[in-house]
Symmetry: C2
Subunit: 168 residues, 2 copies
């Protein structure tokens, strides 16, 4: 390969959002995560700050553990939490208005961020066996943000530090 | 097989929820649907009637069409919409309270129903190429309920009668 070819390749690779790992744990956005299975959905409202619809997806190891109620999660389990703005759907509301004049349909707007948890009981032994990543527009947040991940999840120790339950 | 064996098998098979098709279209609950890919999530609130968190899952044909923006949907596309009650999570709120005292976390409660759309442009030509099924606790609703499916979806003709958009 020529020097120019190497430079082009490097530039191209560096431009991929999923190449950059999170501070502290080095967690990366996993390839193909958007096609993972649905663990659950939820909503988070912090008045004046954020209003989100969310979905938690799992790789096969994580999904099976959720479904079977296996705790702690086995090594290799990866959970991605997709967070979108919650916005009213005027379109849906107009359609529903015939039957339900006061119906309120809310759908996802834009992506706020995504959070990733990777189980590796040896590598991440200091933080309950989990590595954390928080990404916005494909880029990880800073170290200060990532220092908040484990302390927030720590109260859920009896659920192996995971808040989400499997949605039957 | 003995007669007793046949009866046991028939009873066992009849007991499976996914054996009963919907009125009119004969749509059944597809095997393995809970492991399908996530198309989108949303919320529906009809004050005094229902308050739901929802997820739309698709088989591979449907998911690809959503992701690529393909319209109309190809034959074989199947969409399942899972509807749960939306309930506050006191557990999550307590954990969040340290950082966000007025945070409100809502999670899924019990399953309200599931709705299924099956694309077969010939079989279901009279209803935009879609067959419909609405199931509660694994049992299809009655014919009167199923007569409301297509009229409700008809306003979305320009989106091939589908309300859901792919959540990026």
């Amino acid at each position: 390969m020529t020097a120019a070819g190497v430079i082009t390749l490097m530039t191209s690779t560096a431009g991929r959002a999923d190449d950059e790992g999170s501070p502290i744990d080095g967690v990366k956005i996993p390839a193909g995560y958007r096609e993972w299975k649905t663990i659950a959905v939820n909503q988070l409202l912090v008045p004046g700050k954020t209003d989100q619809l969310r979905a938690q997806l799992g790789n096969d190891i994580a999904f099976k553990a959720f479904k079977d109620g296996t705790l702690p999660f086995p090594d290799g389990a990866v959970i991605v939490a997709l967070h979108w703005t919650r916005v009213p759907s005027e379109y849906n509301n107009q359609v529903l208005a015939g039957a339900f004049p006061d119906a309120q349909s809310f759908v996802v707007g834009s992506r706020v961020n995504m959070q990733i948890m990777v189980k590796d009981s040896k590598k991440y032994a200091a933080t309950g066996g989990w590595g954390f990543g928080d990404f916005k527009d494909g880029k990880p947040g800073d170290e200060a943000l990532h220092k908040t991940c484990f302390p927030c999840h720590e109260p859920a120790k009896d659920r192996d530090f995971v808040f989400t339950h499997y949605a039957q």
